[in-house]
Symmetry: D2
Subunit: 381 residues, 4 copies
């Protein structure tokens, strides 16, 4: 039985085996289902029994190209570890001294636990940790980004810093709980734009998961009107269901003109760019009124032509965000808990852990219009 | 004699004639010295006897192409008015009800008095007034940007909203006082970056007037180390005199590498881009550490290729600023008053009002290494 | 007919008479129903046909003791004007140049239009205008606080700066619309506490109108859990209907102990004090965890003993707020428009204009458990 | 020799003995000079060879009454440990993985290293750590406040989290370096008031060390004018030397009247209260103009009568601060390094470690007008 020294377990509530099934990344795109020891939580950590994990576009990048943020010193591709960052589960064991959580608590997770000792972490900017990724090279500075730089959720168990745990309500299903961190990313973007967006006009560009939940979170915060632009009607319809006041199919009309027309001839206050399209920043700039703000939650991989003069002449600010900082995930969870929006509208498919490659194929190729594909660890009792 | 109804004058302290000399803009680049009536201050306004005015690169743009900010509805080129926005002088008459200033007060000016009734003005963002420029077309919403959209300082007198006046110390010369609004623009940029920059590392790109005073203001606020990059050694030397800890001539070494090397191998916290060079934003991004910030106080006129992915992956924020908002000019004036830096180091030439075209030539063509060219209205007593 | 020069009217849409009925304050507590000319809107102003006005405890203070904020120079009791500040109505005429509103627009109002020229107004702090009240003494600096220092809403018509108008939805009744500014005051308090309160624990002390809508606004913003303390079960029940997760009757249990027990043994993040009770600040301090914040939306009239040491040792911040600043009323209106809470739950009685003294008696003496008493100008068509 | 496993030492640069002299607190006020083992740095920690330590009024409280902040659960008086928190020294050994500092670095220290895992720490509010003091009872949550809750500086060596270290310039003497954290506390207070105080009027009440350096830091940040009030002319004279524009002896004139008169009849923007006098908050309120702010860096031990109505009616905010948060110490150090003010003006006496009781007597009883008393560990080489 699993009983590491200094770790608190409770076999009656949550029995824990010694070994577990886990997908391990070898070379790029090479995922192998293995059997390995259940990991051991240290101080300020718990062991999580993973119940479900969602697949994110960033997982596909990580599996193909390495960590999503830039690693100091350009470390090589991270091998022999377990990706997957959008997971939820049950607290299965407590590291030394942990009393913030109890065995059996249902929780969902955030990705980032900063090193806690760099300048950014000390400012509360743990997703911008200056020691990002310095935990799989020679030096371990304590930074953790489960599923990016440390073992993540395509496995039966994972260790998490208590900073990254969020208790969830019994009324929230496992599948819904995997979506909290996505909503948290949208919330982080809106937080950095100022947060107090009730009655402010917001455009979301790109109806991917972050964009769709961006619509939902913006509405929950009281934004009005909220616009969603995209190329596929089915996705835009989802946006409408999640609260968009106006949707614009950019294959049928000019997005900038449509936004300004629908907004009474005026520019909008905020744009949340979630498409990564090459011209999105320029479009965003032309949608805004003077003094407006853009959040970049996505990006084109290659450099793009930007009309910088337009941005500066209009006193526009741009916030490139990465991840789910400033405890935004907690704020997102509350809105989901209180059913202010129904995030499950973007959950489309479910697979079992052993079928991860197929689940990934669905997510990557948008098979059957897949949006969010969730992987479950075991059959429901 | 000048004695408009409701206006308070004091001929013993500051005699005011009925008419004055003023340069008036006709077609683009066509400046004509005319004789016109001295203007009359309204409620919350004063009449300023202009004693000196500096020439800014933006004046050259305004004279050639029209207002620096984007005007709603794309109004035509503004004709038959007086440009010039970096002026200082003496309060010569008070509009109805004004008791905040006294006749004889020496003052310098800011450019922008917002309309006071739009959403941005109500937020305190008067340089991003949504009614920007709506005072020379059909509608007058009360916005004023003297020298940009309303009569400015290439004349003997001007009317200013009391919001735009800053009292200056007797120990500050007329010439130095014309530089306050330039320092105020640098201060605004640093304010938007967070303001609390003592001990933070800052790179200023581009040793023009805003860049050079950006170095000075950053040092006054305690920034350390402060880097200045540019192409001309004479300008970089000025930067050193104004406090730069390190200067980098980009024709001789790679700026990004030099900054990182001189900063102990680490990225910096802030970059203030004042060059408008096509690759400046990309360079700025590579100079920064994760979570860093860029202020854009200048811009290239044509779209440029930007590595957006780098910015987003590093959680970098970008602030396009226009002008001298958030009362930054008041903060700049205090540092100049207390001689924390010597802004006069960038004042290189002086001309009389009638010689404005020659003064402009010096400024535009950098004749005799001109940096700031000042125009005086009358010979010293 | 009403047709002042420069003012736009439209007799077909909203006919306006020359004279109107208005209550005028003489000596303290002396309200007289008079007939006086309909006022004329100036630049940036409109004429509002008042349709309904609510009575606020501050009205009672104003009628008895003078303006609620401290007036510079200690001006005498303001006589011969019309109180009433929580009104709504229909745009009836437009001052020169106004195109932001159209005749016939249904609107509700905020109280404060700052002078626009003092330091606080320039920072966006128009409710803290340094020229507060300087419009009924010798000098008029342009400050307006309708119903406090300038003519307000116990009349058929009033003039309002466009800054103070908020368009309302057709789905909002007149009575509900009079409550927007009350919700706006609660929103302002929560804004100053940081605004991003989703998932944060909040205690509201005192179930008066601002406290009850404070509960509603806090819940709309996602606060959890929200506690309400008070002495009357009927009021606490209203709080529950408006979203309070826990209510505490302080005549039956110790509020500090109850809050801590119900919050899992921990202190809370924020307290909004709306009772004015002598010991409320000390109680608030003991309810909070370290680094918590208190908003004071009410106050005891006499000095009270405060345990300052407790506040400082716990790094607690206290925000004394007055009115509805930072455009909070716009944010409140959106949540009400979207029916996130039902403010009409606090509307208990309705009277006609001629019955204002009786309406005031109901409000002051809480006759029949009155909470919000609304006065209507005319019978529904 | 000192050579703990996993710890990096360099006996040539900084030899470290196995045992050291240290003062240990027994019962209240009972300090005993003992011999104990040199402590061992863990991950993210270093061993500091202490070169000098200053005595603070809080040390006197700690020695008499226990920790300065409120400890969860009301833990008993902390015994058998070493107080002293204003120390500086030389990095003597590195804990596992530390490369941010090198052996031989001269450093000064901050007091607080938050637990890094509570809500406040995650927000960057490490001085308001919710696990404050949970390191000398049953549970150790990782919070450290050296000299308050963990071993501090009245000893030859101490262990410090790297978060709490600040490199100092060679041009700064040991004595001056002990004053950095005091200046950092003043800086923290001014940071919480908004930080951008150039050209703003500031009153400092109380010319103790934090008040005197508060004057110096406010001036360094550009505040103007800066007032200092107190009862002793010698202290006020120190304030003048540190930059106060006006000093007011409250035994000779009414402080509120004097401030308003000297400030041109207007209230001031900010008050930093450092006296703990019973009526200081009321005085502060009456010194301020509407919308002003008060920082409480001191407090009376017993509850005091506060005119809350005045504060709320003027929209005044109050910030009770404890310690040196938000990395303010780094900002203070830079201004001292650049000689913007001469903190050594408040250093009056020096003793050797063995004479700590006498040093404390000087500090407590203000013998020979003592302000800051510094204790050195060894004679200068």
């Amino acid at each position: 039985m699993y009983a590491p020294a200094g770790v608190k377990t409770d076999a009656k509530k949550v029995p824990v085996p010694d070994r577990m099934r886990a997908w391990v990344l070898g070379d790029p795109e090479q995922l192998i289902l293995t059997d390995k020891p259940v990991p051991v939580p240290a101080r300020a950590e718990v062991l999580v029994r993973i119940d479900a994990v969602a697949i994110c576009a960033t997982d596909l990048d990580v599996i193909k190209s390495g960590p999503p943020a830039l690693i100091k010193g350009g470390l090589p591709f991270n091998k022999n570890w377990t990706p997957g960052h959008e997971y939820m589960g049950t607290v299965a064991a407590l590291g030394p001294g942990v009393d913030e959580f109890a065995i059996g608590d249902r929780i969902t997770v955030e990705i980032h636990a900063g090193c806690g000792q760099c300048k950014r972490c000390r400012m509360g900017m743990y997703t911008s940790c200056l020691n990002y990724g310095l935990n799989y090279g020679e030096v371990d500075k304590g930074h953790r980004a489960n599923g990016f730089t440390t073992d993540g959720g395509f496995a039966e168990y994972a260790v998490n810093n208590i900073n990254t745990l969020i208790k969830i309500a019994d009324t929230m299903s496992d599948e819904e709980a995997t979506l909290v961190v996505t909503a948290g990313t949208s919330m982080y973007g809106l937080t950095e734009l100022g947060g107090l967006i009730a009655g402010e006009s917001v455009v979301v560009i790109g109806p991917g998961p972050i964009g769709l939940l961006g619509v939902a979170v913006a509405k929950a915060l009281g934004a009005y009107p909220v616009f969603l632009t995209g190329t596929r009607d089915a996705r835009l319809q989802k946006g409408r269901e999640l609260g968009a006041d106006h949707v614009i199919n950019v294959t049928k009309e000019n997005a900038v003109e449509a936004v300004r027309r629908l907004n009474g001839g005026k520019g909008v206050d905020y744009v949340v760019e979630c498409s990564g399209a090459p011209d999105a920043i320029n479009e965003a700039g032309r949608m805004l009124n003077r003094g407006g703000k853009i959040c970049l939650a996505a990006f084109p991989h290659d450099p793009v032509l930007i009309d910088v003069a337009h941005l500066v002449r209009n006193n526009i600010y741009i916030y490139g965000i990465r991840g789910e900082g400033k405890s935004a995930t907690h704020r997102a969870e509350v809105f989901m808990r209180e059913k202010r929006f129904d995030a499950t509208k973007i959950h489309t498919h479910t697979f079992m852990l052993e079928d991860l490659p197929e689940a990934i194929r669905y997510a990557r190729d948008r098979v059957e219009d897949a949006i969010k594909v969730v992987v479950k660890m075991r059959d429901a009792a």
